[in-house]
């Protein structure tokens, strides 16, 4: 996936994305980080085509994103948003079944394929024994996994996640990130996500895009780009980095 010279402005006064160009590598986990309002979610929404850029182009497999039909695009890329309203009286299985929409046409539906995809999504997200339960009956962490399962049922090559861990406690955060890791390693999905926690980003990403004020400040492998100076520049925080045998590289903030 490539984006070139993207400018996004919601109000025509300030640029929420200011001349951003980057590419997302296939088969890798790419994490976008940066302070609040830096444009990381906007970047993700440009990649997932939910925001149309004011200027610049975004392309997938050398085709401009606007050229894709909605269902065709949904087969290529799935996205899970940060906050989702919980529909009433809807079983998990049915909700995940919505993810099969891009594979259906008015006259044609392959039920066997659909069942297979739904079963797979349920297994991967460890929700098989809850499939007949209502969404309302689940915990926050489980609900987040259901939305991911719905995206997985699309069987797309790229999965985008907008702050998937934000409203979860630490146990579910780790569970979710391990799920993301296994989706990438075991099933070859390209992952693009937005995270807040820098240490989690270091640990679970192949590549990091670091943003501030609508621009990309640094991008590359975590170890190459996340340094004391960059953290100071982007977040305005004094940080120290330590190397630990079990943890690898990790960051502690000292103060501002």
């Amino acid at each position: 996936m490539e984006i070139k010279r993207i400018i996004v402005s919601h109000d025509n006064i300030t640029n929420h994305l200011d001349d951003v160009s980057t590419s997302i590598s296939k088969g890798k986990v790419t994490t976008i980080i940066g302070p609040n309002g830096c444009g990381k979610s906007t970047l993700l929404s440009v990649l997932s085509r939910s925001t149309m850029p004011t200027s610049g182009t975004a392309s997938l497999e050398n085709r401009d994103l606007v050229m894709f039909k909605p269902k065709e695009f949904a087969k290529k890329l799935a996205i899970v948003y940060q906050q989702n309203e919980v529909p009433k009286d809807l079983t998990i299985e049915k909700l995940i079944g919505f993810g099969r929409l891009p594979h259906k046409t008015l006259l044609q539906r392959n039920q066997e394929e659909d069942c297979k995809a739904i079963d797979w999504a349920l297994t991967v997200t460890n929700l098989t024994d809850k499939r007949h339960k209502d969404l309302e009956a689940l915990s926050g962490g489980e609900r987040q996994r259901v939305w991911i399962a719905m995206a997985l049922a699309q069987q797309s090559e790229i999965l985008c996640l907008d702050e998937p861990t934000t409203y979860l406690d630490i146990y579910y955060q780790i569970e979710l990130l391990e799920l993301v890791k296994s989706l990438n390693e075991d099933y070859g999905l390209t992952i693009v996500m937005v995270l807040h926690d820098i240490n989690q980003a270091i640990r679970y990403s192949d590549e990091i895009i670091m943003m501030k004020n609508g621009r990309i400040i640094a991008e590359g492998r975590p170890r190459d780009i996340i340094t004391k100076d960059v953290i100071k520049e982007v977040y305005g925080v004094n940080a120290v980095f330590k190397e630990d045998d079990e943890l690898g590289l990790y960051m502690m903030s000292l103060g501002i």
């Binding site: 997932s48 939910s50 039909k69 909605p70 269902k71 065709e72 695009f73 949904a74 087969k75 799935a78 996205i79 948003y81 989702n84 309203e85 529909p87 009433k88 009286d89 809807l90 049915k94 919505f98 993810g99 929409l101 891009p102 939305w147 719905m150 995206a151 699309q154």
Partner: protein, 321 residues
Amino acid sequence: MRKRIASYVIVSLLLVVTIVYSATTGSIKMGFFEFFSALFEQGNSQMEAIRDLRFPRMIVAIFAGAALSVSGVLLQSVMRNPLADAGIIGISSGAAFVQLFIISLFPTLFFMTPLFAFMGGAFACFLVFALSWKSGLSPLKLILVGIAINAMFTGVTEAFISFGGSLNVSASSVIGSNLTMRTWSDVSTIATYGTIGLILAFALYSWCNLLVLQDKTAKSIGFHVARARLIIAAVAVLLAAISVVVAGVISFVGLLVPHIARRLVGYDHKVLIPFTALLGALIILLADTLGRTIVAPLEIPASTLMAIIGGPFLIFLLRKE
């Protein structure tokens, strides 16, 4: 599952009982058995009267109830708002006004009344959407805008009637609803368009189900949200408009019936839409039958009864929101 089946069976039975009761009660009374034997023979003068006067009225009530209730379900789905109802948010009064206005000016076009009513309803629906949309639909704002639109259309209709008192229009049937003196030609209008509308509504059930997702999520799975909204809203307006043409404005049915229906059969539109049609038919037929029997020979219009029950019900729903 069992609750669903039980609800379907009970409501169907009640509808049949109400139909028989309604057909045999009123200024002409008939025994149950007498009615059934007369049903299949010619020449019974009482039966002829019932056939000409009471049957059309009952069929109109049944279709109007079904159409308005299903219209409510569709609007609630499109607007993601449990309080939407064609009568409350001005779609019915928009349909009533435009129909009255054009037919008064061009009486020869009376055969196109359903089309004009549809245009009026669609215009009102568009206004409600356009004026309450602000990066999403806020449920309360939509209702407030809808009530204002409704007041406006009701107002201009009343003004138009008082200006044009000399015009040859039976205007009173437009603002209120009165089901007396319906004819078989009314029946054929509402049965034709009503059936088309109800079938279309059912065909759209999977779209209605998908609209429970937030717009951004629905879009991300490749769903044409805007197109689906437009088509579902058009069917809802068709159903509301055709009821207005034949039965006048009846508010609150589209609010009350779907709400009860969801309690009984759940939120899946595949089950909900047909059930709502049945329950709506039952409620309006019952309201009309009670309205013409409890204070006979005077009549309370079905719309009045619905307003008396529906008003407090809307307050109850608003408090719960």
